[in-house]
Amino acid sequence: MLRENPVLARELLVNLRSSRSFLFQLVYVALLGVVVYAAWPIEREGLTQVSAGAAQSLFELFFYGQFVLIALVAPAFAAGSISGEKERKTYELLLSSPLQPSEILIGKLLSALTYLVLLILSSLPLMLLCFLLGGILLSEIVRAYLILVLAAGTFGLISVACSAYFHRTSAALVVSYLVILPLALVVVYLTRNAAPETRDFVAIALLPPWCLAIWTMVAVVVSRRLLHPPDVGSEGRAVVDEEEEMKNAIGVIIDRDLFPDKLFAPPKRTDLMPDGTNPVLDKELRSEIFSQGTLMLRLVIQVSMLLSIPLMAIQLFFRPEWTAYYVGYVLVFNLLVGPVFSAGSITQERERKTLSLLLTTLLLPGQIVWAKLLASLRVSTVLTFLLTEQLLLAYVLIGDLQQQFWTLLIFLAIIAVTCAVTTSVGLFCSALSRRTVVAMVLTYLLLLLLFVVPIGVERFLTNFTEIGVERLSALTVTSPFAAALSVPLTVSSPDLGLTASERPAPPLVDPIGWPIWAVYLVLGPLLALALNVMTAWIFRLRWWHAGATL
């Protein structure tokens, strides 16, 4: 059946035909090779007597690195699979073909995952090298790959399901990440600090049945939806009648007249704009930003608000010293949600064919880019700062924190700068790309490169080389997570006593001797500024002046 699945055949042809994907695979394996080489234990003469610890940590690095990769890349490949058909208006053609919904689903899923699984498998020889080093059981490797493949399947299926539910790929992508991230954290938690027997139990007895159950459930639901699609017609996109939608909405309702909603969604105009208004900005804020799927926004807000309540409780009552981690949660939220608004802002004008209308007016490229930046920055900042409410509460209620009130200001500054950076990166990618999906994936990749990869590299180098912490901390100055963790907080936790003194003081960055957060607070705004100047320049060259094929 699979060999005759035309959906799979077409997608695979398009995906694997490009030499780019092959190149990417090559680079990936080369990168892994470099990691192994760098981490290869020094005592090469006595290969067999290598400490089990080194091999173990190399193995874990591989496993978690690939696990994170899957969690990030699976949605990028799969979240566009069905919503992309809707956007290209080929959805109805596909559904009206004699293909079974299950065939469509399987075709989409496999085509999205084939490449990813190929990537994972290409790392197998290097993993086996770790096995040769000793200290790792073959069963551990088998277990690791079992988890990786299960994760790829589950995350891919979740993304395809989101893709079937949303009209826009960007919405599908963000919701996929929101669902997958907690799942991934749970798996990491279950496999990390546990005895080998527990790990085996989790990997062999717990995960597979759970995954199968999730797969079946999701597959049935999605197939049903494909069989009787409620979103066909009007080109897969119903006319948004906001008033009507609000009446039917369950859960959070965006009420444009009330605080705090009016901060990010100002009320609609009842009369003409005043003179001197930037029309693009006005349009974005009052009409457009929420029309692209209020459903998604509600989901995002609800999920993160819901999550923030237990997190706040933990922070307030059990672990006040974890304040920096709560800030990290707010930053992750911004990392996920910030690009949604900016990464589509230019590509969507093109995709919806309004760009040529906009470009033939008297608006200057700077005005257009500025309006896009302000609108998306405003929404992303307001939504993110809604989550800092808990932080403020902690600083009011907890005595230790009260006395170090200035650290709150640093945290808030870090969050604000991060909002600016995520939005700017999104806008930059939007000016570079032709499609919103591409822009979003590119944005997430760039942000990971700035925010997360440096921390991984730093950890790796700390474990496997002798370079000093000050030198290494210079690597992480682009990461708000590193910045938040470097803020010096002395808090006693109710049951553990004073912990901060036991923690080593955060290192100062090598050449200038500043703490990481200070460097980040200087570097972040400069980066955002540079990105926006480049965005305006690219937009001018690419769209406004050259009018590249619209």
Partner: protein
């Protein structure tokens, strides 16, 4: 008013428009006609300052499209062939958006938006969401968008494509009103008859080349070498006339039906008169001798078949 000089556009190796030149004087309605893929939209996007030419230049109201795009944007109203509308916007907001984008002061905007809605017959839709409008209404709304800054030149790319007959008629009557407003209009279509009624001049483009340009009469004159004659005869003269005509070197494709002969004739008016003279001198009783007025569609078909070359 609009002048295109040696415009050439290549996409990679593909020559989309080849050395195109034409002029449209003030107040004219220029119909730009050609089959799909002929290069109409490419030329129009160039004129609308959205495309860099491979070579060549163009001027609208004396402003260079390449060097002074802002000045050109000020004087043109542009309607692309394939356009979208914004989500969550009402009809009046849509017009207000573009009016602000064209820097029209608020004091005028109210009046202008009212007038445009009136002209487009969309007053009753003022508070509807734009993405809920039917296709025909969207086209009209976009046409309205091109009018908010009252430009002297309108550049419309296939404004009536994909519409049902009624919506077509509505667009046509709108264009007739615009002509009465003394606007210079460039309008493209792949259907000739759509433009025939109200265009003062037409240009026919195929595979990136302008095959003919001018008034419809002029274009027919350019086709002088391919005139179709209709000869009506009395009684038994038909076979003799057929034989005579077939022997003429300037006459081809002779066909007879009942007592009427049609044939293609190459030559000037004088040659035509001499042919008639010879027929009569040979004693053929001719009662009708006329040149068939080719319909625009037939002209179009002949030209785009490459008959001219």
């Amino acid at each position: 008013m609009i002048e295109v000089r040696n415009f050439t556009k290549r996409y990679g190796d593909f020559l989309a428009v080849d050395d195109l030149s034409f002029t449209i004087p003030e107040g004219e309605i220029f119909g730009f006609i050609g089959p799909n893929g002929a290069g109409k939209s490419t030329t129009i996007r160039f004129l609308a300052t959205l495309l860099q030419p491979t070579s060549g230049s163009a001027y609208v109201c004396g402003h260079s499209v390449v060097h002074d795009p802002m000045a050109v944007r000020r004087v043109i109203g542009f309607m692309p062939d394939d356009f979208g509308v914004y989500d969550g916007m009402k009809v009046w907001e849509f017009l207000d958006f573009f009016a602000v984008a064209y820097q029209i002061p608020r004091a005028y905007r109210k009046k202008i938006i009212g007038e445009v809605l009136e002209l487009l017959d969309l007053t009753s839709k003022r508070d509807d969401y734009v993405n809920g409008l039917s296709r025909g209404m969207k086209q009209r709304l976009c046409l309205g968008k091109t009018l908010v800054h009252n430009p002297p030149v309108l550049i419309l790319d296939e404004p009536a494509s994909g519409l049902d007959p009624r919506a077509r008629v509505e667009i046509k009557s709108l264009l007739t009103e615009l002509r009465a407003m003394k606007k210079t209009i460039l309008i493209s279509s792949h259907i000739l008859s759509e433009l025939a009624d109200f265009c003062t001049t037409i240009g026919i483009i195929e595979r990136g080349r302008l095959l003919a340009a001018g008034s419809i009469q002029e274009i027919q004159k350019q086709l002088r070498t391919h005139r179709v004659l209709k000869v009506g005869l009395v009684g038994e003269d038909v076979p003799r006339a057929l034989a005579m005509l077939r022997a003429e070197p300037a006459v081809q494709h002779v066909e007879s039906y009942d007592h009427t002969i049609t044939c293609e004739f190459q030559g000037e008016d004088g040659d035509k008169a001499r042919l008639l003279h010879r027929l009569i001198a040979a004693g053929v009783s001719v009662h009708t001798f006329t040149e068939v007025e080719l319909s625009l569609e037939e002209v179009f078909m002949m030209i785009t078949k490459g008959v001219v070359n």
